[in-house]
């Protein structure tokens, strides 16, 4: 395990506090602990805003524990259980390659190779030397119809192949943020080329 710098303090900012209030209000009194996962996301996003690296430092988990009146260890358990929470600093963009069967069959190996080549990454878990990218393998994200998928931070990019992935990464490097969704212009999950059913309405 590589060492990393843990901040010594963490406090929710105004934006985070506003969302926390909304989230905690969803749960009955005394059951605030239910909000632990959304609050960990809030920590991760605030870290992204503050440091350009979306991760959950230990002091952030402590802040969640204090806010929800939980024992800190109960928050550590949740934060370390879920891969979505980065307990170590990551690059500016989190490239999450889906390697589950549908994406794999549709060419996720090429997406992975493109990430490595264009992003300057050695493999899963690696952060590029320029601090731009961290590469992770994720399990099925539920977008199999438009496989293969690369999830950048919270955005899905679909129907990728080697070239389009490289293009996407180069755009990210330039500071652009291409519109999420299918890169081949597919409308939501409709067939490639446009909808083909219910086009011929009887009597028309």
């Amino acid at each position: 395990m590589t060492e990393h710098h843990e901040p010594t303090s963490f406090a929710f900012d105004a934006e985070s506090n506003a969302s926390i209030e909304k989230i905690v209000a969803r749960y009955p009194a005394g059951k605030q602990a239910s909000a632990v996962i959304p609050l960990l996301y809030i920590v991760q996003r605030q870290m992204k805003r503050m440091t350009d690296s979306g991760w959950v430092p230990r002091v952030g988990m402590d802040a969640v524990a204090a806010r929800l009146s939980m024992a800190p260890i109960r928050v550590y358990e949740v934060a370390t259980f879920y891969f979505m929470f980065n307990t170590k600093p990551i690059g500016r963009f989190h490239l999450q390659v889906c390697g589950t069967t549908p994406c794999w069959l549709r060419g996720s190996d090429a997406v992975l190779k493109a990430c490595k080549d264009a992003g300057g990454l050695k493999g899963y878990g690696d952060t590029s030397a320029d601090g731009n990218f961290t590469l992770s393998e994720v399990e099925c994200m539920g977008g199999c119809v438009n496989a293969p998928i690369l999830c950048v931070d919270d955005d899905y990019y679909e129907d990728l192949d080697y070239e389009s992935t490289v293009k996407l990464i180069e755009a990210l490097k330039r500071g652009e943020r291409p519109t999420p969704g299918s890169v081949i212009g597919r409308q939501t999950s409709a067939p490639v080329g446009g909808p083909i059913t219910l086009l011929d309405v009887a009597g028309e």
Binding site: R58, A71, P72, I73, R74, Y76, E77, T80, F81
Partner: protein, 682 residues
């Protein structure tokens, strides 16, 4: 009730019981790792699989509720194969380091692998390795051995109330630990060692010391707090190697506090192992005969005023022997309240834990006055916590603010003003207590060690009387003592004549101090001849004119009375060091030298006298259900109560008595925990 048939044996168990409990009721052993009857059910080790009629798969019996008419089979081919399979999986990542594992010989995994395992593994790949965790000076971890049963996590969270252990990461990478490296802050951490079914959590002081089959075992009573925890003292070659709790549902269940468990290394240090006599201002080694001659000269001098003190670690028999010796010498100046607590001995329920420890579970409201049960009796605190967790148990505290009792409580105030309000009904918490059916209060003994202590005791009793704690069918007044010898000496009426303060300041010409090794006698004037009988060379020995070496609690057969008034016998595990002897024998020999031989030559004869003179000792270790038919309280004027804050015992939890102060392990704990304690005090 549900009728269940286990392997053809029909048993009746309560609805909601688990199949595993039903099997136990039928006398059938079910192997298990994660299941523990005092913890919540986790159901993750899968070792307890049994076959249930009409169930398609084996079921985890610990988590499967019984149903009327259910037929369970625990010895079919399916069950045997299931157990073999589970065992093979558990052993995949378990190292085969039994020869160097401290759990070896008393390991659940070892035993059950032999009994239910398959004998060989098909696993040829790399085993998982887990980094050891630091959990403080008492618990040693070898986390590669962990089978992730989560008993320790549940114990820390549920029983100890210090949720510091957890399972982080998942799957292959799941690890049990504190995540952030820290020493566990529980006073019950030693129990983690007992409940760990494998060698992942073992005793750090006991590491590589001995094998269980090499040990001689003696039943004892822990006297380092007043709980009266039942213990087993394991020894080899005349040396105490470890102390473990014994199960006693009414006292300690199966838990034990860390000070009692780990401080025994103090029994080997700073010991008084021979008599000493002061000659020319200096203590010099002496023979028993020389010591007795010096004592005889002082105690039989014509017109000499005599007195005796019995301290917190004096056993019942010796205290009686001392009392009889003083009586035969014509003195009734006796005091056993060496901590200065103003205790009224006129009635037993004025100084007893009348609700009883098990009775806490019946109570429905609690008021704690001037006590931190977490450090004064961690095991009783665990029982209070158990009751709090069960729900409907408001706890109010009068004393220092911000105590971490491991359960939520309502801080009412810090001293006299709050107590007066509670006694008169003016306080809001009175409403809570008066609405309760079985309210109780716990008064810390240390709170009574102040100038207006007698008044404080009277006020506490008035609070109990006013708030419905004293009833013909319920006694809610409880005094929490601090050491194993305190209640017994009070039962013997070792309080008469001059009080301790007078005896220590020249009120007597010759003073006999027993079992109070830590008592500061520096104020005793040079004209007073002081005999110190004890086992550790501490403050008292420094001022002694004669030192008589006695036996510690592991070194004598003796009766002890816990804070509830329960009389329990401890047995000798090892011999006292050097020339030291059991205290009653020392007193018997001294009495002969003084020309007033005590009328008993054996412990049996002494105990016969004890039982005939004090019938309370005839009841054995059974405890009657105390009730209160006389609500008249100890004397004291409520208006005389000062407003001062109530004081808790000084110093850290780890070093409270001569034995734990001599212990290197406890010193290490004090060093480790000193910083957090200082923070908590702020």
């Amino acid at each position: 009730m549900a009728k269940v048939t286990i392997d053809g044996i029909e048993v009746e168990v309560p609805n909601g019981a688990s199949v595993l409990q039903a099997c136990e009721a039928a006398g059938i052993e079910i192997p298990r790792f994660c299941y523990h009857e005092r913890l919540s059910v986790a159901g993750n080790c899968r070792m307890c699989l049994v076959e249930v009629e009409k169930a398609p798969k084996p079921v985890a019996s610990c988590a499967f509720p019984v149903a009327d008419g259910m037929k369970v089979f625990t010895d079919t081919e399916m069950v045997r194969r299931a157990r073999r399979g589970v065992m093979e999986f558990l052993l995949i990542n378990h190292p085969l380091d039994c020869p160097i594992c401290d759990q070896g010989g008393e390991c659940d995994l070892q035993d059950q692998a032999v009994a239910y395992g398959g004998g060989a593994s098909r696993y040829k790949e790399e085993k998982r390795v887990v980094k050891d965790k630091y959990m403080g000076p008492l618990v040693k971890t070898i986390m590669t051995r962990c089978i992730q049963c989560t008993r320790c996590i549940r114990f820390a969270t549920e029983v100890a109330g210090t949720a510091e252990l957890g399972a982080t990461s998942r799957g292959e990478h799941m690890e049990v630990g504190t995540y952030v490296e820290k020493a566990l802050t529980s006073e019950l951490s030693g129990n983690l060692i007992d409940i760990c079914p494998v060698g992942a959590l073992t005793s750090r002081p006991y590491a590589f010391v001995s094998r269980p089959w090499e040990l001689s075992k003696a039943d004892g009573i822990d006297v380092l707090d007043a709980t009266g925890t039942n213990i087993r003292i394991d020894t080899r070659g005349g040396e105490v190697l470890r102390i473990l709790p014994r199960t006693n549902e009414e006292v300690n269940e199966e838990w034990m506090a860390d000070r009692g468990r780990f401080s025994f290394d103090g029994l080997k240090r700073k010991r008084l192992d021979r008599p000493w006599v002061r000659q020319g201002g200096k203590l010099v080694p002496a023979t028993w005969q020389e010591a007795f001659s010096a004592i005889a000269a002082a105690f039989t001098a014509p017109g000499a005023k005599l007195g005796a003190l019995a301290g917190e670690l004096a056993d019942v028999e010796s205290t009686l022997a001392l009392k009889e010796l003083m009586a035969s010498l014509g003195s009734s100046n006796l005091d056993c309240r060496t901590d200065g607590a103003a205790i009224d001995t006129s009635r037993r329920d004025f100084y007893s834990f009348n609700t009883s420890i098990a009775g806490i579970e019946e109570a429905d409201a609690l008021l704690i006055i001037g006590s931190n049960p977490r450090t004064e009796s961690p095991v009783i605190n665990a029982r209070i916590r158990k009751r709090v967790v069960a729900g409907g148990f408001p706890v109010g505290v009068v004393g220092p603010q911000g105590l971490d009792l491991t359960y939520g409580h309502d801080w009412l105030g810090e001293g006299g003003a709050t107590l007066r309000a509670l006694a008169s009904g003016a306080h809001r918490f009175c409403e809570v207590l008066r609405n309760a059916k079985k309210p109780m209060l716990i008064l810390g003994r240390n709170a009574l060690a102040r100038a207006d202590g007698a008044t404080l005791l009277a006020v506490a009793w008035q609070i109990a009387a006013f708030n419905g704690m004293l009833k013909p069918d319920w006694h809610g007044f409880n005094l929490l003592h601090r050491f194993g010898g305190q209640h017994g000496a009070l039962d013997l009426g070792f309080v008469s004549g001059l009080p301790m303060a007078k005896m220590l300041t020249g009120g007597v010409d010759a003073l006999w101090v027993m079992g109070a090794d830590g008592l500061d006698l520096s104020a005793v004037p040079a004209s007073t001849f002081v005999v110190v009988q004890g086992h550790h060379g501490e403050a008292a020995a420094a001022r002694a004119d004669v030192i008589l070496p006695g036996a510690a609690y592991t070194e004598k057969d003796a009766a002890w009375v816990n804070t509830e008034g329960r009389v329990q016998l401890g047995f000798q595990a090892v011999h006292p060091p050097g020339e030291a002897r059991e205290d009653w024998k020392v007193l018997r020999a001294a009495s002969a030298a003084l020309g007033k031989p005590l009328p008993f030559d054996t412990l049996e004869a002494l105990r016969a006298r004890l039982v005939s003179a004090y019938p309370v000792f005839a009841q054995g270790d059974a405890l009657p259900h105390y009730v209160c038919t006389n609500t008249a309280g100890p004397a004291g004027d409520i208006s005389g109560l000062r407003d001062d804050a109530l004081a808790l015992p000084a110093g850290n939890y780890w070093q409270q008595d001569p034995i734990s102060r001599a212990s290197e392990t406890m010193a290490e704990c004090a060093r480790t925990y000193a910083a957090p304690a200082a923070l908590a005090a702020e």
